[in-house]
Structures are given as structure tokens and as C-alpha cells.
């Protein structure tokens, strides 16, 4: 018989500590939909995606009911559209509209993969796709875009970095009437993972199965609640508590992923070992750091606490799952985390500190609202800095910043729902234009002589 204490603990995690499965994401390859006729290609894309994902939402809901675990999002990721659209030699916006139709037809809340991989250089279709991002995101609601501009093996494509600064600004301007939401749907990556189930950066890499199921878990509230029970523990003990908690959270992800893959008849890809916060009270990564002993997230010591947290989450999670992948680690999106929002508002969390934090945790500068008059070159320079951290440390880093058109430091941009609200954060007013205008490539770094 099961232990009553264990049963009650699980129920408490779900009821009071916001434990949930953040997303079941179905990755679908579109390589067999390529056609030089864009309309025919779009028809094939629509047909294949609708066929594969027909039962995705229903299956997610059934599992939710049977196990009593909330599954917040059901999503789809696809082959980077730049690869699919290259043969058409036309603007790929039609593909974005097709993805939107699939989102509506299947009931998923996001489709990711309006993407291009240009970490070394542009191939056919890449520039056209990147240039079309602002239009594609303004004309669709549930389509997400990502661009990989650097990697540890290739270096950083500075021409792409320069382009992305402009694209992010343009996406924000085109959706200024809608909380600048276009920019919140673009992620610029260095070392992008090919099996990431989380939006906005999900796409389905070319080395993956034809169709697969990836699962992203959540649970900052559970980790914090576990730490609250150990107010006097030392850091070794704290790390152990986090590992045990991460193990339990990840086991739930593994169970749901395996079950979804069985019911849908597609292979199970990975569990993304993540602590993904939401703006809900008690679901914050910043609050975990504060529970460990910081007065406010962003104080000196934040980077060290986050490094320990991130590592412990991975150590606990790795044993709980047969396959781990995606972004795996603690997320630190500002607008989606109640504790981060408070820390930014009270002035303890700055862009510079966030940048340091990204060197030791999953992803990067995420959901950060910057002043509306930030020049494109400055955004590009923010991307370059962040990509450099990822490139040198052989890890994924990303930038998702939102220039709040018409707003300045101290204002607040409201998104609503899972996206929360973001205080406009200070950006350096000194120019990086000359550096960005040079173009070219940052050569790949040495992987030895590490100091």
C-alpha cells in the first residue's frame, strides 16, 4: 500500500504549491512537406500537422483527468520554417498563416518553429524568413519565432546579430497596439536546443524523430515549500532538498510524457528539467532564491544561489527521467515571475545582474521589458553579450527583450495571463553602434586552456 504521507504530499504539491506539467509539446518534422510551389507546400504542412496533432489536446486533457495533474499547455513545434520555405523563393509569411490555422484547428495554444538557424551564415531562405518575422508575428496570434545566431562550434554570426536588433524593434512597433506582444514571441538563441518544448523558442530539429512528444515540467512553488521546512539547513542540505524535490517533479513529467507518447503512438523524446515560473503567487524562482537567504533577488549572492539551484535541479532530475533534454534548468523570465517583478521594481535586480545570472542557469535574458526608444544597435549588442556567454560556456543562452514602444524606465508593460507584466528596465545609454555595424563573425572559442 502506498504511504498516506506520500499521497498527501503529492496532493499538497498540486493544490497549494502550483505543481503542474507546464507543457506537452509535439515536435513534427515538415521536411517531407517541402515544395517549390508555396501553396502546395502550405497545404502539405497543414495536412500533416492536423493529422499528427489531431488528438494532442484531447489526449492531454484525458491524462490530466486520469492522473489528476494539471497540464497547462499543449503545443506544437515544427522544423525551422526557413528550411521548409527555401525552395519556394518567396516570402514565408504564408507558412506563418498556415501554422496559425493549425493552432486554431487543433486547439493548441502555440506553434513554434517560425525559425532560422544562422549560427555560421545565411543559406537560401534564411534572410527572407528573418526579414518576414515582424509581419508574420503581427499577422498571427499563436505562432512563435526563434533564430539561432551563434554556437560554441561556429562562433557568433554578427551580421545576424545586427539584423535581429532591428527585427525585434520592428516586431514591437508593429504590435504596439497589442502590448508590443510581437517581440515577446521572438527568441534569439546561441546554442539552441533542437528538442526544447518551451515557447517561444521551441522548434523541431532536423536530427529528431519524424514526430515526437517532449514534456516540460514546472514547480518553483514546490521547491520553495520544501525549503521552507528547513529554515536552518546549511547549503549542502539545501542542495539535497532541491535534488529530492526535483526528482519527484521530473518523475511526474516522465510519467505524463510516456503516457502521452503511448496514447498518441509517437516516440517519447525528452523531459525538460525545468523550474518554469508563472506570475501566480507562490510560483516564483526569485522567491526560492530569497528563501535561501537573500533579502531580494538581485542582491550579491544571487548568482551563487542560482548556480547551486540550477545544478541541484539537474542532478535530481537526471535520475528521474530516461531522456533529458531541452533547456533543462531554472528559468528567470522577469515578467513571468512575481518575485522577479518585485525585485526589478524595488531596484535590486538590474539587467547587468540578470546577465550574470544567465551564465549559471538555463536560457538567458528572458521577458525583459526595455525602454521604447532603445536603438536597434543596442538590442543587437545585448544579444551579442548574451550569445558570448553561451558560446564560451558551451550552454544555451537566449534573448527575449521587449522594447515597450512609447514607454520609459519606471513604466510597466502589462501582458496578462502566463506572460504577466514587466517593469521597463534600464539599458545603458552609451552606444554600441560601431561594433554592431562592423558585421562579420566572432570566431569559435578555444575549448581548452580554460581559465
Amino acid at each position: 500500500m502506498l504511504n498516506t504521507g506520500d499521497i498527501l504530499e503529492t496532493i499538497k504539491m498540486i493544490q497549494e504549491e502550483n505543481l503542474d506539467i507546464r507543457t506537452i509539446t509535439m515536435g513534427i518534422s515538415l521536411l517531407d512537406c517541402i515544395d517549390s510551389d508555396i501553396d502546395r507546400a502550405c497545404d502539405k504542412v497543414y495536412e500533416k500537422m492536423m493529422r499528427r496533432a489531431e488528438h494532442l489536446v484531447k489526449t492531454g486533457e484525458d491524462i490530466e483527468k486520469q492522473y489528476g495533474i494539471p497540464i497547462i499547455n499543449k503545443r506544437i513545434s515544427v522544423t525551422p520554417i526557413a528550411i521548409v520555405s527555401a525552395a519556394t523563393k518567396q516570402s514565408p509569411v504564408k507558412f506563418a498563416k498556415t501554422l496559425q490555422r493549425v493552432a486554431e484547428g487543433t486547439g493548441v495554444n502555440y506553434v513554434g518553429g517560425y525559425s532560422a538557424l544562422v549560427h555560421k551564415g545565411f543559406s537560401a531562405g534564411d534572410k527572407e524568413l528573418i526579414e518576414s518575422i515582424p509581419e508574420a508575428l503581427a499577422e498571427t496570434k499563436n505562432v512563435c519565432s526563434s533564430v539561432n545566431i551563434g554556437s560554441t562550434k561556429a562562433g557568433i554570426n554578427m551580421d545576424a546579430v545586427a539584423m535581429m536588433g532591428k527585427i525585434i524593434r520592428e516586431a514591437s512597433e508593429k504590435t504596439a497596439h497589442d502590448h508590443c506582444f510581437g517581440a515577446a514571441k521572438i527568441v534569439v538563441f546561441c546554442n539552441a536546443p533542437e528538442d526544447n518544448p518551451f515557447m517561444a523558442g521551441a522548434f523541431h530539429g532536423v536530427g529528431e524523430y519524424d514526430t515526437e512528444i517532449n514534456v516540460g515540467v514546472s514547480g518553483p512553488g514546490v521547491v520553495r515549500a520544501a525549503l521552507q521546512k528547513h529554515p536552518d539547513a546549511n547549503i549542502s542540505e539545501i542542495a539535497d532538498v532541491i535534488k529530492k524535490t526535483a526528482f519527484k517533479i521530473t518523475r511526474m513529467g516522465q510519467l505524463v510524457g510516456t503516457e502521452a507518447s503511448k496514447r498518441l503512438g509517437v516516440p517519447f523524446g525528452i523531459v525538460d528539467l525545468s523550474l518554469a515560473p508563472t506570475p501566480a503567487v507562490g510560483d516564483s524562482v526569485a522567491h526560492i532564491l530569497e528563501e535561501i537567504g537573500l533579502e531580494s533577488c538581485g542582491a550579491h549572492g544571487t548568482t551563487a544561489c542560482l548556480a547551486m539551484l540550477n545544478d541541484a535541479v539537474k542532478k535530481g532530475g537526471v535520475m528521474a527521467s530516461s531522456h533529458v533534454g531541452g533547456l533543462s534548468g531554472a528559468f528567470i523570465p522577469v515578467s513571468e515571475d512575481a518575485g522577479m517583478i518585485d525585485a526589478a521594481n524595488r531596484g535590486s535586480l538590474s539587467l547587468e545582474k540578470l546577465e550574470a545570472m544567465t551564465a549559471v542557469c538555463s536560457v538567458g535574458l528572458d521577458m525583459i521589458v526595455i525602454p521604447g526608444d532603445t536603438p536597434a544597435d543596442t538590442i543587437s549588442a545585448i544579444i551579442a553579450d548574451e550569445a558570448a556567454i553561451g558560446m564560451v560556456n558551451s550552454k544555451t543562452t537566449a534573448v527575449r527583450v521587449i522594447p515597450a514602444i512609447g514607454m520609459k524606465e519606471g513604466d510597466t508593460l502589462e501582458f496578462g495571463g502566463l506572460f504577466g507584466s514587466g517593469p521597463v528596465m534600464k539599458v545603458s545609454s552609451f552606444s554600441s553602434s560601431k561594433f554592431i555595424s562592423r558585421g562579420g563573425r566572432i570566431p569559435a572559442p578555444l575549448q581548452s586552456l580554460k581559465n
Binding site: M1, L2, N3, T4, D6, I7, L8, E9, T10, I11, K65, Q66, Y67, G68, I69, K248, R251, M252, Q254, L255, M319
Partner: protein, 89 residues
Amino acid sequence: MRAVVAVIGKDTVGILAKVSGICAEYKANVMDVTQTIMQDLFAMTMLIEISNLTIDYVDFADKLKNTGTEMGLQVHVMHEDIFNSMHKI
């Protein structure tokens, strides 16, 4: 298939009778029951076999939950596997 029924709330007369009554009505076989009183709180967990349920699993779970609500209790019905996977290596 086996499910866990967890009942939490203020202790009153007849909780076990009511819950097991519903189980019997829809042919869910009770395999094990544990109950404790923690402070003032009544906590009961029940392992049931639901392969021969005469109604849909979701409807059955709803019936138990609604009965619980009427008695001022929280009732959760969840598949056994979730607990096995989270708490056993």
C-alpha cells in the same frame, strides 16, 4: 487499473461509509484503506480497483468529489501510477 481516493477534511460520522458506498454502487473494489486524524483533520486514503467500473472514470471521480463537497471534505481521485512514480525509485 487502480486508483487512489484521498479524503481530507473535518472528521464527521460516516465518511468511510459514504465513500465506500459510492465505490460499491459503481463496482469499484476497495483493496486497502488507511485513515488517520492529524490534529483535527481527518485524512483517509483508499486504494480501489476500477477495471470493472460501471460508469466512466471521470464521472465516477466527479461523483466522489461532489459527495465530499456536500460533507465539507476535499476528495481527490488519482491514478495510482502518479504516486508510485513520484515516491518510489
